[in-house]
């Protein structure tokens, strides 16, 4: 069985306009002109059809274009073009790993053997168009057995075009010879000869062409004949996902910022979906509007306003990789609510760290646990109420010091819920529950409550704390612990368990308390009540 190579060319018409439109979709239906060039002689380099109908022309100066009030003028943004090109590459790599990065607006794909995945050539072309559309771009797709034919037809003809095998010359003959991208010198020669179309070029004898214009002419002749071949220069897949947005007017309210962040996150999520990976973490970077230095009167000591910081960054790590843009937006919103940037934002950059999507398989015998995505959002909301460091799972520190613990980030994965072996071990623990003792818990006071203690023979007899006084009925102690004596702040504590009978009408009349004597501060504290 012979193997027939098949190539697809993806071309983005009006690439500069589409790059801007991808970041600001509302501009697609407005008259838009893009200017570029050395300042101050900006010239219109790209414009959409609506602006053209209004009278704006390519090459017009910015000042002249500004006369048209309805036309939106934007400077050329390389950042947006880079993001659009990266998105286009993601689309290509989602179809096939063999991709050539020919130009910012053109990609060549080797789609040989993909019929079993996507279907015939028409279905492949439609799939490419659909995926590019999901990322905010309209593309032309041409499929041919000849690489150069596909490239030229994609640039020339709109929509998906299938060039049947052997019909390459027929498709190319009516196209202008400029589509072959000849050098300036060769273009002049063709112009002098009256060679305007590919058909005219292919009608010239190859030998004579070679003698007159050299190998470049022979190469262009072969391409125009539909026979020009060259190897595909493969581009390495890059796992770098970044989206940018530069704003004309700085944004200073969270609601507007959330709207823009949501758009960028949607685009990132779509790009990662195309590559079958998920977001493990996102890094958000803002460029802030510089604050004005207020003039101050030197005769009086007024507070000098410090310039606002130029940048602001924050990182969001997900417990499990996700592509849910809405969840990411909510988490980002909560984070920015608790730690706002502090100045209006001029530029937004979001970088996503990719990771393989999580694979979960539910089990019949594992107890239900919170959904990781929902849990992350719940914890973020609680953290906005109580603070980041006050929500999580406690972890004891390797220290004998009382109350030595830290609060670490809680996640279902770290809780080890899904391990069926641990479940089996836990079940055996349950079976022994009935004979287990019930331990007393300590209801801690944080910070420890200062107390006054009267001693008799080194044993507490009377205590005073929290406005109450009591007699010590039983005392157990002292239990001395100390540590970190080799450091600057050593600690030493004598612990006592006291049963106290309170005087007066205190309720309850009795209680069991943990007292401690701090040897460094030489003071008594109440650590907690046994409850």
């Amino acid at each position: 069985m012979s193997f027939t190579a098949l190539f697809a060319a993806v071309y983005v018409p009006h690439f500069i306009l589409q790059a801007i439109g991808r970041s600001e979709p509302e501009l697609r239906t407005h008259p838009l002109a893009i200017v570029d060039g050395p300042s101050p002689t900006f010239q219109v380099i790209a414009l959409n059809r609506i602006a053209e109908l209004l009278g704006v022309a390519r090459g017009m100066t910015k000042a002249a274009a500004s006369q048209f009030a309805q036309v939106t003028i934007r400077p050329r943004c390389i950042i947006h073009e880079a993001a659009a090109h990266a998105a286009l590459l993601d689309v290509a790599w989602s179809i096939t790993p063999r991709v050539e990065d020919t130009a910012p607006d053109t990609l060549l794909l080797d789609i040989s053997g993909l019929a079993s995945l996507f279907g015939d050539e028409e279905k492949i072309a439609l799939e490419i168009v659909e995926r590019a559309s999901a990322l905010g771009m309209n593309v032309h797709v041409a499929i041919s057995a000849n690489l150069e034919t596909a490239r030229i037809v994609a640039r020339a003809l709109p929509g998906p075009t299938i060039v049947p095998d052997g019909e390459e010359r027929h498709f190319l003959e009516t196209l202008p010879v400029a589509m072959l991208s000849p050098s300036l010198e060769l273009a002049e020669i063709f112009d002098r000869w009256g060679v305007a179309t590919c058909k005219a070029l292919t009608s010239l004898p190859v030998l004579s062409l070679s003698e007159c214009v050299g190998q470049e002419g022979v190469r262009l002749h072969a391409i125009a004949s539909g026979k020009g071949m060259r190897p595909l220069l493969l581009a390495e897949p890059v796992q770098h996902f970044e989206e940018w947005l530069e704003l004309d007017d700085a944004v200073d309210d969270l609601e507007s910022l959330s709207f823009l962040l949501g758009r960028l996150l949607d685009q990132l999520s779509a790009r990662l979906s195309a590559r079958a990976v998920s977001i493990a973490a996102i890094h958000v970077h803002f460029e802030l509007q510089p604050a004005f230095d207020h003039a101050f009167d030197t005769s009086r000591d007024l507070l000098r306003v410090k310039p606002a910081p130029g940048t602001f960054s924050c990182m969001l790590e997900m417990p499990v990789p996700t592509r849910d843009a809405k969840l990411l937006l909510k988490l980002l919103h909560l984070r920015l609510q608790s730690r706002p940037p502090g100045a209006p934002i001029q530029k937004i950059q979001i970088t996503a760290q990719s990771s393989l999507a999580r694979v979960t398989q539910s089990s019949l015998f594992v107890p239900t646990a919170p959904d990781p995505d929902k849990l992350e959002l719940t914890i973020a909301r609680i953290a906005a109420v109580v603070g980041d460091s006050n929500v999580g799972s406690p972890q004891l520190l390797d220290s004998h010091q009382p109350d030595a613990f830290q609060v670490r980030k809680f996640s279902v994965a770290s809780a080890g819920i899904s391990d069926s072996r641990s479940i089996a071990q836990s079940v055996s623990t349950i079976n022994s529950q009935s004979s287990a003792v019930t331990a007393i818990a300590l209801h801690a006071f944080r910070p420890p409550v200062p107390a006054r203690v009267q001693l008799q023979g080194n044993k507490p007899t009377l205590v005073f704390f929290q406005g109450r006084s009591g007699t010590v009925l039983h005392a157990s102690g002292p239990w001395r612990t100390s540590g970190q004596w080799w450091e600057e702040k050593p600690w030493q504590e004598d612990a006592w368990d006291l049963e106290i009978l309170f005087s007066g009408e205190a309720q309850p009349p009795r209680g069991f308390y943990r007292f401690s004597y701090d040897g460094m501060l030489e003071k008594w504290f109440v650590r907690g009540v046994y409850d």
Binding site: S393, V437, A441, F512
Partner: protein, 270 residues
């Protein structure tokens, strides 16, 4: 018409006799319960009901924190994820871990005031997925806790309804009232202090100091919707000596976890 429907009903009931008991009577489904980790209490109340609000109240040193700890031990031992909303940041992780709580499966919310605790528990319940959500307001000023409106407890109860989450509220007084499906009152009985004599002095024992071994706690079931018990204080005067009141009380021992007793715990029920 009415006599015809009655006749039809009698006919159906007689046909289903022996197969279906009371086919026309609506039976409230019994809630699924989970062990508290204390056999006497499980026997008294049937365990902690899932999808319901359980309230446990008592004075300091009555054992409510120990009961919470025991419930956490039982739930985390079953590989379930628990959450504790601590209104006064009074949870002791060292004590809990020594008792057997798997701290990795516990989400601890350390609040500085009652308002933070109430908002946090609301967020947790709406997030869902937790087997046990405990709200500890026992350390909060009683005056502030009394100001929590009843509809808040009602709303919490409605949030956990039809879920498998146990909502456990610990306080010094009963606040949830009829919103709670199970209400337990804890009271401490006599404590046990033991004097440990050693023939040869040891670093482990400070003789002749006595050690707190623990105490006996009495748990009284004030209300249980599964057993259709009303508020106890209404009938207290009548039922003090009745057999029914004695079945609503359970005694169990709490032990210091530093020196476990030689004999195993004996849980009694009068």
């Amino acid at each position: 018409m009415l006599s015809r429907s009655n006749a039809l009903r009698l006919h159906v009931e007689s046909a289903l006799t022996g197969r279906v008991a009371s086919p026309f009577r609506f039976q409230q489904p019994q809630p699924v319960t989970a062990s508290m980790g204390i056999p006497a209490l499980d026997q008294l109340a049937g365990g902690l009901p899932r999808g319901c609000l359980t309230e446990i109240f008592g004075t300091p040193s009555s054992g409510i924190a120990s009961l919470l700890q025991s419930a956490l031990v039982a739930r985390t031992a079953n590989a379930e994820v628990c959450a504790l909303v601590d209104s006064q940041d009074s949870f002791d992780p060292a004590c809990a871990e020594a008792a057997g709580v798997s701290l990795r499966q516990l989400l601890w919310v350390r609040c500085r005031n009652l308002d933070q605790a109430l908002r946090s528990v609301d967020l947790l319940l709406h997030g869902g997925g937790f087997s046990l959500v405990a709200l500890d307001v026992s350390g909060a000023p009683a005056k502030l806790v009394r100001q929590i409106p009843l509809n808040f407890w009602f709303r919490l109860r409605r949030t956990v309804e039809n879920t498998s989450t146990i909502l456990l509220v610990l306080s010094r007084e009963s606040h949830a009232k009829t919103c709670a499906s199970l209400v337990l009152r804890m009271e401490r009985a006599a404590a046990r202090w033991s004097l440990r004599d050693c023939r040869y002095p040891s670093r482990e024992f400070h003789t002749p100091a006595s050690l707190l071994d623990g105490w006996t706690t009495t748990a009284e079931m004030i209300r249980s919707s599964s057993q259709r018990r009303n508020l106890f204080f209404i009938d207290r005067a009548k039922n003090t000596d009745s057999a029914n009141s004695s079945s609503e009380i359970a005694h169990f021992d709490l032990h210091s976890n530093h020196f476990p007793p030689a004999a195993s715990a004996q849980n009694e029920r009068t």
